[in-house]
């Protein structure tokens, strides 16, 4: 399914976390800057998302996504999808127009650019939130796992290109992977949500096992790093 999404208000608290504020209150000037950037971002962004639900089976090399040539390898994704008989592949973006806006601000005003950058990361996560709600409504008799980002844990980032192909994401939402498996437009997300008939643990994998654990600025925040890419 492919959908253009309208974004409402952006979660500025989350943006401030990305900016390193933790639980500190920003001053008046930064609050004003956030408001201004939010307005411009909502005007510029063209949020898009595409998702598809596939049956999954455990194969020799990893988890096979039926009807595609995708094989999900590694322990992290196996744990994530434990007990699931379906997986939804999701790709969301706020479009290349945001890349251009960031480039423009970089020339005009670096501080606005930094704030805009964090807000647009928040925006693409909010597109995913909306997608998650739609998936929940569509598969109401299933329990849903959290969004497992491609490249998270030991699921290789190099899966990106095949993942996008399975969703036809290039054609449907205009998202591409570079040769080094980075997503373009920059503010885009790819992730996997497991669907299970029986309750799944919603708890994220702890930060303890993450290779970023000593330096991560999101560690200890409510939502952790989630499937954030940028």
């Amino acid at each position: 399914m492919k959908e253009s999404i309208r974004l409402g208000k952006l979660n500025k608290k989350e943006a401030l976390k990305y900016l390193g504020y933790g639980n500190n209150e920003p001053d008046e000037k930064i609050l004003k800057l956030l408001d201004k950037c939010e307005e411009e971002l909502l005007e510029t962004a063209r949020p898009q998302m595409v998702y598809r639900c596939f049956d999954i089976t455990e194969g020799e090399k990893g988890i096979e996504v039926e009807g595609t040539n995708l094989c999900l390898k590694g322990n992290s994704i196996r744990e994530h999808l434990e007990g699931c008989d379906k997986a939804v592949l999701l790709c969301a973006t706020v479009s290349a127009a945001v890349d251009k806006l960031l480039r423009k601000l970089e020339i005009e005003d670096m501080a606005s650019m930094v704030v805009m950058d964090s807000l647009s990361s928040v925006a693409v996560e909010q597109v995913c939130d909306k997608a998650e709600e739609m998936i929940a409504a569509e598969f109401s008799d299933y329990y849903q796992t959290w969004r497992f980002g491609i490249g998270y844990g030991d699921l290789p980032l190099t899966l990106q290109s095949d993942f996008l192909k399975a969703l036809d994401a290039e054609k449907r939402v205009g998202v591409f992977a570079t040769a080094s498996s980075l997503l373009t437009p920059r503010k885009s997300v790819t992730c996997i949500i497991g669907l299970s008939k029986t309750p799944v643990s919603k708890k994220r994998r702890g930060c303890q096992t993450c290779n970023m654990k000593d330096r991560c600025i999101y560690r200890g925040t409510d939502s952790g790093c989630s499937s954030r890419q940028d």
């Binding site: 399914m1 492919k2 253009s4 900016l19 390193g20 504020y21 500190n24 920003p26 000037k29 930064i30 004003k32 800057l33 063209r46 898009q48 598809r52 009807g67 595609t68 040539n69 995708l70 479009s95 290349a96 127009a97 890349d99 251009k100 480039r103 423009k104 020339i107 005009e108 005003d109 670096m110 501080a111 606005s112 650019m113 930094v114 704030v115 950058d117 569509e138 490249g151 980032l157 190099t158 095949d162 192909k165 399975a166 036809d168 290039e170 054609k171 939402v173 205009g174 591409f176 570079t178 040769a179 080094s180 498996s181 980075l182 373009t184 437009p185 920059r186 000593d214 330096r215 940028d230």
Partner: protein
């Protein structure tokens, strides 16, 4: 020459085929597989599909080559050439085995889709790489009857493809792009921009395919019919997909009925995209047979130029901004010499904000490679501004290089009545589908009399038309002479302009500020002359849009001449006009209302223009105040003292506050922005006084090969520049060798490398390796989200910087 498709287009209508992917999936192909391989592994399946379409009425079938490019076929086990040849052969077999009712054979199209990578600057694919990839496909597909580009979303990628097609074959070319509900492609291309750019490049037919059903595509088709005279192609999806089942919602009959509603716009070629099959083509064919296809005159919009996102019709006066030009500007010249593209981008953004509709781009300066600079500047400009550009150079090679990579339809500035100019410039204008400024001068110089200039204008027009440039794409400049030297010539210019406009029916362009040279109160003379010219029919004034009197003259004229209906634009520009005249501190310092530039009087009770006030401005992120204070201080204080006694200590304090968690990243950057503005003022002051610029050692920085996440690197750059280092920024996705070359060229003692993702760390390692292999005497610092101090050590970096602040500490340590 294979002209069969061109002949076919003379018919009342042309029937194309329907979806290929849908048919292959129905035959069991998995999502994500490479469909082109089937052309070799299962040729019968492909021939069957083509045959079904021909039997349903298709006069053109698309070979199974949509993704047959070097990037998408990588690792598939077959060569591109083998796949393309087999795919065309399968279609040809179907065509031969199934003659059309009139005995003719269905044509076979070489079908070409997007490469599968986003183009620079959002992605990493360059124009040149895209061109090479397309050229390879075109050469492999010579046995087809025509070349089709479809499902395209990036206009520059299309341009690379069309040029590759035209330069490597003489087959007809058809292009369809894919538009979303907002009538733009994913990369933001507008329908008018597509129409005028591709009409200029000389394709045979153009239109739209995929993404939506016929009904949803109505606005796209309608706009297209207004903006192009070329045959229009429509290949919609079978409606919209059902969210639950992924099935499309239109039946073949409904599909044909919806298409019928669009016949009023004058469509020539019809087919289907995702979700359609031979039944859809059959219904389409019988609908057209029954209903007929009315002939509709379309393409009524006249002269226009564009960027991919913005088309500007020259149906009313439009301002061409003249500021991107080094003539008489010390800072601009220095920026060109130092390859400071950001300076030029700033000039562009400022002019657009002030009201420019088009920007003239001139980067000619003795001692620099103008061709390379022009290409770099145009690429960079198109990455940040939406307005169309005017390419300004006297060198044909520079013009051609720029025309090639320009995204959209530009203006060429300029051709003149000299034989040599006509013979070299006009063919370029024709080939790349640009508009052109014609100067009314020739071998004998600028004629004194209006009628002689008129005669040259006519000659330029005739010569342009003779080689196939539409008359509407010729804009004539009757040339402004200086009133103080040749007073009687002023009216000659205006008479010539008037005649060119009214008798030849051409658009006119004029640079106006020359008029007042040598006179006092130049502004007054300039804007009155501009008003006179506008009233004589000037369409494209070339002015400094930052000069309020000039831009205001154009706005007021447009209001009075009834272009600006209900005074909407005029009121928008002046409704909130400040009562006091704004003090322009430095035309390079951008101001962010509500953000950095708020002059809120919060100078903390310290005397304006004092050292304390500047310190206060930096600490509190007050950009405008910071620049003003610096200006004041320069009257009584040495510039180096300002830097060393005020700016650096202020930055140190901010840095320490950041480190200790008292302030956060946005505040750090705000302060850095103030310091940057202050440095600009100092630099301008020094350049104007011919003193040596303030700068310490050189530092080369780059985001490594394969990585496009450069925000961190850019923050580092601002901070390093704040401390007076001369930063050579190589950008993102930088080749290993380019880093080595830059270190050598600038004799840099410190290199900063950034990488964000695990997949690009290896590029960082390789870059470091190459630096060491070249025995360069420089230290290397690295940073980026996934880096650790341990990893930095392991790849033999000298320093690990955890943030931008630390990179400054390292620079101080290494360079002092």
């Amino acid at each position: 020459m294979n002209n069969k498709f061109r002949e076919l287009l003379k018919n009342e209508y042309v029937i194309l085929d329907g979806a290929m992917g849908t048919m292959l999936q129905a035959a069991g192909m998995k999502m994500g597989e490479t469909p082109e391989v089937l052309s070799i592994t299962n040729p019968q399946l492909l021939t069957d599909i083509h045959s079904q379409y021909i039997k349903a009425g298709s006069q053109v079938v698309y070979a199974n080559t949509f993704g047959a490019n070097a990037y998408k076929l990588e690792g598939c086990g077959y060569s591109l050439e083998d796949i393309v040849e087999a795919s065309i052969a399968n279609a040809r077999r179907a065509s031969d085995e199934n003659p059309l009712p009139d005995g003719s054979r269905a044509l076979v199209a070489l079908d070409i889709g997007p490469i599968g990578q986003l183009m620079e600057p959002t992605g990493t694919l360059s124009f040149e790489e895209a061109y090479e990839m397309y050229a390879q496909i075109v050469k492999a597909g010579k046995s087809a009857d025509l070349i089709v580009f479809e499902t395209m979303t990036d206009l520059l990628e299309v341009k690379a493809g069309v040029l590759a097609a035209k330069e490597n074959s003489d087959l007809p070319v058809m292009v369809t792009m894919t538009f979303e509900m907002n009538n733009r492609t994913f990369t933001g291309v507008s329908v008018p921009s597509m129409a005028i750019t591709l009409s200029g490049l000389g394709v045979d037919a153009l239109g739209v395919n995929c993404s939506l059903g016929p009904k949803e595509l109505e606005p796209v088709v309608k706009t297209l019919s207004e903006w192009t005279k070329l045959p229009i192609v429509l290949k919609p999806n079978a409606g919209l997909p059902d969210p639950k089942t992924n099935m499309y919602n239109l039946s073949p009959k409904d599909f044909a009925e919806s298409v019928k509603e669009l016949l009023v716009y004058g469509i020539k070629a019809f087919g289907g995209c995702c979700g359609t099959n031979p039944d859809f083509i059959r219904e389409l064919s019988s609908m057209l047979k029954e209903n007929g296809n009315p002939e509709v005159v379309h393409g009524t919009v006249g002269a226009a130029v564009c960027s991919p996102t913005q088309a500007v019709a020259i149906s009313e006066p439009r301002i061409i901004g003249e500021r991107i030009n080094p003539t008489g500007k010390k800072l601009f010249k220095e920026a060109l010499i130092n390859n400071d593209i950001d300076y030029i981008l700033n000039q562009a953004l400022e002019q657009v904000k002030a009201g420019a509709d088009i920007l003239d781009v001139n980067v000619g300066l003795p001692g620099i490679d103008e061709k390379e600079m022009m290409v770099n500047v145009i690429k960079a400009l198109q990455g940040v501004v939406d307005v169309p550009l005017q390419i300004d150079s006297t060198i044909p090679e520079v013009l051609e290089a720029a025309l090639r990579i320009y995204n959209g339809k530009p203006i060429v500035n300029s051709v003149n009545g000299e034989e040599n100019s006509l013979n070299t410039v006009l063919p370029l204008v024709k080939k790349y589908g640009a508009a052109v400024v014609g100067l009314t001068l020739d071998e004998n110089g600028i004629p004194k009399k209006a009628e002689e200039r008129f005669a040259i204008a006519k000659k330029i027009m005739d010569r342009a038309v003779a080689i196939g440039i539409p008359k509407e794409d010729v804009f004539i400049d009757c040339l402004t002479l200086t009133a103080s030297a040749e007073q009687e010539a002023v009216m000659e210019t205006l008479h010539a302009l008037n005649r060119v406009k009214n008798e030849l029916g051409l658009k006119t362009v004029l640079g106006v500020s020359n008029i007042s040279f040598g006179l006092p109160n130049r502004e007054l003379v300039n804007h009155i002359f501009l008003a006179m010219a506008l009233n004589n029919g000037l369409d494209l004034p070339i002015i400094n849009p930052n000069n309020e009197a000039m831009t205001g003259t154009v706005r007021a004229y447009k209001l009075l001449a009834n272009y600006d209906r209900n005074s909407v634009d005029f009121i928008k520009a002046y409704a909130n006009m400040p009562k006091v005249k704004k003090i322009v501190v430095d035309d390079n310092v951008s101001q962010q209302p509500g953000a950095a530039g708020v002059s809120d009087g919060a100078s903390g009770g310290v005397p304006a223009g004092s050292a304390e006030a500047l310190m206060h401005a930096v600490l509190n992120g007050l950009k405008t105040e910071g620049a003003q204070c610096t200006e004041e201080l320069l009257k009584s204080m040495d510039s180096m003292d300002i830097v060393n006694e005020i700016l650096i200590p202020a930055l140190d304090r901010i840095g320490a506050d950041f480190e200790s968690g008292k302030i956060f990243l946005p505040q750090l950057i705000l302060s850095a922005g103030v310091a940057q503005a202050a440095f600009q003022v100092i630099k301008k002051h020094m350049v104007n006084n011919n003193s040596a610029p303030v700068s310490k050692d050189k530092i080369v920085i780059a985001t490594v090969k394969g990585d496009v996440h450069d925000i961190g690197k850019n923050i580092v750059k601002v901070l390093l520049e704040n401390y007076g280092y001369d930063v050579i920024d190589l950008g993102k996705d930088v080749e290993y060798q380019a880093v080595v070359d830059a270190v050598k060229e600038h004799n840099a003692k410190l290199v900063g490398l950034s990488a964000l993702m695990t997949t690009t760390l290896v590029s960082m390692e390789n870059t470091i390796k190459l630096i060491h292999e070249n025995n360069l005497d420089c230290k290397i610092m690295v940073g980026g989200a996934v880096l650790t101090p341990e990893y930095a050590k392991q790849i033999h970096a000298d320093f690990y910087a955890k943030d931008a602040k630390e990179s400054v500490d390292i620079a101080k340590r290494v360079l002092g």
